[in-house]
């Protein structure tokens, strides 16, 4: 099951599930193991382990009346169904988790209109059924960012299995390139990305939708090779072990680098800064970072990357020399807020 978060077995979750399971089984004598597992979003093994516990549970005070639930591995039978098994009201956390997620998904700009309407209707019904338990759900909210038009085109191309042509901006090189891609799926983790087979590089690539400058759905069918979908729950792109290492030293004002760039290590420095070691297939892409950091940090290695940032700054400064040096007089720097002021626009340290 792609992308479903893996969770350790947990007694609370299992109890919750078993309470619903008895209700479910009462209504469906002879239900198939396969169908029940799917309806509950669990593996058949998880379901079987629940079915091992249930016959040890009694419905009444002073024992007796143990749940007589058994399975032959294919179908499940409850021989003494009891009316204790009524549908249970939603807990506050359950209502919050479902409602916050539903509201967030309903704001996805590219969501199909029919799906959005269905989700809004469902949200209202769940809110009503949850009653007071829905109250705390307003204290949590999530906004997905994505480019509506691009999203809709990618979504359509995926469902119609068609190839896409895009003009895509790569911040690492500050250039816009044209590519044909065979889209595989859309992923929203803060920003929205399309995972695709890139026909230009003949490799799997992840493209951030807000960096797509232009998009067209082509007539050619999309034919991505059979590739195993990765679990994207940790990070969209994990650097490879063979990627070159870059060491960056930042002061307190550059600590955001550790928040935006996946890294191997971030060691505290005595001045409140960090020494960050990260890996990237293309160190030259970090020249932007060096320029952005200014006095808040510097590239320690590789040396040629540090040199190229210095060189770029000198070239840039040349444009300000001459008659307009009046601008060089000392001035007050604007105050910095507590916010992610130093953090870059849209830089997230991800490849492509």
């Amino acid at each position: 099951m792609v992308g479903k978060p893996a969770r350790p077995a947990n007694a609370i979750d299992q109890t919750r599930r078993m309470l619903s399971l008895v209700t479910y089984l009462r209504e469906r004598p002879g239900a198939r193991v396969e169908d029940v597992a799917r309806a509950f979003g669990i593996t058949e093994d998880e379901l079987i382990s629940d079915l091992d516990v249930l016959p040890l549970c009694g419905t009444s005070f002073r024992g007796g009346d143990l749940l007589d639930i058994d399975t032959d591995g294919d179908r499940i039978w409850w021989h003494n169904p009891d009316d204790v098994a009524e549908p249970l009201r939603l807990a506050a956390d359950e209502a919050t988790a479902l409602l916050v997620a539903a509201r967030a998904v309903s704001t996805l700009p590219g969501l199909r209109e029919g799906d959005r309407q269905a989700l809004l209707r469902a949200t209202a019904k769940v809110e009503a059924a949850a009653g007071e338990a829905a109250g705390a759900s307003s204290r949590l909210s999530v906004t997905f960012e994505s480019e509506g038009g691009v999203f809709a085109d990618v979504d359509r191309a995926i469902s119609e299995r068609r190839r896409l042509w895009i003009r895509y901006y790569s911040p690492a090189r500050d250039e816009v390139t044209e590519r044909e891609i065979d889209p595989i799926r859309l992923v929203s983790v803060g920003h929205t990305y399309v995972e695709a087979w890139c026909r230009r590089s003949e490799a799997r690539r992840t493209f951030r939708l807000d960096r797509v400058a232009e998009i067209k759905i082509l007539d050619e069918p999309s034919a991505p090779p059979e590739i195993e979908l990765r679990d994207l729950s940790e990070a969209l792109v994990q650097p490879a072990a063979e990627d070159p290492e870059v060491v960056v030293e930042v002061g307190p004002g550059g600590r955001w680098v550790a928040e935006y760039y996946p890294h191997d290590s971030a060691d505290e420095l005595p001045d409140g800064g960090l020494c960050i070691t990260l890996r990237t297939p293309d160190p030259t892409s970090l020249r932007r970072l060096a320029l952005r950091l200014g006095r808040d940090g510097r590239i320690v290695s590789p040396q040629d990357l540090a040199d190229s940032a210095r060189q770029a700054a000198r070239e840039a400064l040349a444009a300000y020399d001459g008659p307009q040096t009046a601008y060089d007089e000392p001035h007050l720097r604007r105050g910095e807020s507590a916010g992610p002021s130093g953090a870059p626009h849209g830089v997230d340290g991800r490849r492509v």
């Binding site: 978060p5 949590l140 909210s141 250039e175």
Partner: protein, 325 residues
């Protein structure tokens, strides 16, 4: 081997749901196998009462977290009994069609945080038990779209619970440019995820003002404080607007820059006016908000700031720091 916790909780839940009259702690202790096994049938070994009581209280709390409404009833003799009445625990009737069910199925799997992922699937399972249609496999129907809500911050769960229960919290917070964290005591109002990062809005008791905190800057543990909120919770809490202004998205001025032809696509995308100069350079008007200087410097020699002077000076200042190495 000790009886598994899930089995114990399940038995306690079914006992409390099944009874028509309040059951005393003693009755529950005697009738649930896991308690008998761990503590003996009755007040026997010294000290076992205390540990039974602690386990019983924890178990009740766990069931309440799962949504069970457990009443505590005192009878005429002053004995305390417990029961979970059917009518206060029953889900009100809810009918969802297949499309609505599929949409909820998609929403239920977006959490990447264990507690909320568990709670969301729990909600779906309760609805499933109540007859939510399952013709469409909720985990495959929307194969192409996979929204995920990332939660990497350790402070998230304690803050979520504190927001829910309206409890003040204390934590160490390191401001963006501060060398060291400082202690803060906050009445938490709301958490919001924007661009993949979580923020907390609340009343900062030390500063006597509303503040927004970025969760990744909270260091160490979040501790809850007893007592009620001292400041009124506003009807509408605006987290995103505050964060957007930090990110320079609330530009109220405009800047004039020169940009090398063919470069700086994101600057062009934001530009309100573009003029081709014909000498390999274009002139752009772009919104000028907080943080624009740092962004412009990223483009190195491909950008020259013309106006305003303040921005030009900031950029030059930053470039000099880099040039010096």
């Amino acid at each position: 081997m000790a009886i598994a916790k899930a089995e114990r909780l399940m038995n306690l839940a079914l006992c409390l749901l099944g009874t028509r009259r309040p059951l005393s702690k003693r009755e529950l202790r005697q009738s649930i196998e896991a308690y008998v096994e761990a503590f003996g049938p009755d007040r026997s070994a010294a000290g076992s009462d205390d540990s039974f009581n602690r386990m019983f209280e924890r178990d009740k709390d766990d069931l309440r977290e799962l949504g069970l409404v457990i009443e505590t009833v005192e009878n005429l003799d002053g004995d305390v009994g417990y029961l979970a009445r059917r009518d206060s625990n029953r889900l009100p009737p809810i009918t969802l069609d297949a499309e609505e069910a599929a949409a909820l199925g998609l929403a239920a799997k977006v959490w990447q945080q264990a507690r909320l992922a568990g709670a969301a699937s729990g909600a779906l399972q309760k609805l499933r038990a109540a007859g939510l249609p399952e013709d469409v496999d909720p985990y495959e129907a929307h194969g192409a779209l996979e929204p995920r809500i990332p939660v990497h911050e350790a402070a998230f769960e304690p803050l979520m619970l504190a927001c829910r229960d309206r409890r003040a919290v204390a934590f160490e917070y390191r401001k963006a440019n501060a060398a060291h964290p400082e202690p803060r005591t906050v009445e938490p109002w709301a958490l919001e995820c924007w661009r993949g990062h979580w923020y907390l809005a609340g009343w900062d008791r030390g500063r006597g003002a509303e503040r927004v905190f970025r969760l990744s800057r909270i260091t160490g543990r979040v501790r809850t404080r007893s007592g009620t909120f001292t400041a009124e919770v506003p009807d509408v809490v605006t987290v995103r607007e505050t964060v957007a202004s930090w990110a320079g998205e609330t530009a109220d001025r405009s800047a004039l820059i020169r940009l090398r032809t063919g470069s700086g696509y994101p600057l062009r995308a934001k530009a309100t006016a573009v003029r081709e100069l014909g000498d390999g350079w274009d002139e752009l008007e772009i919104p000028y908000g907080h943080g624009l200087d740092a962004w412009l410097v990223e483009f190195g020699p491909d950008v020259v700031v013309l106006d305003p002077a303040e921005l030009r000076a900031d950029v030059v200042d930053r470039l000099r720091a880099v040039a010096k190495g």
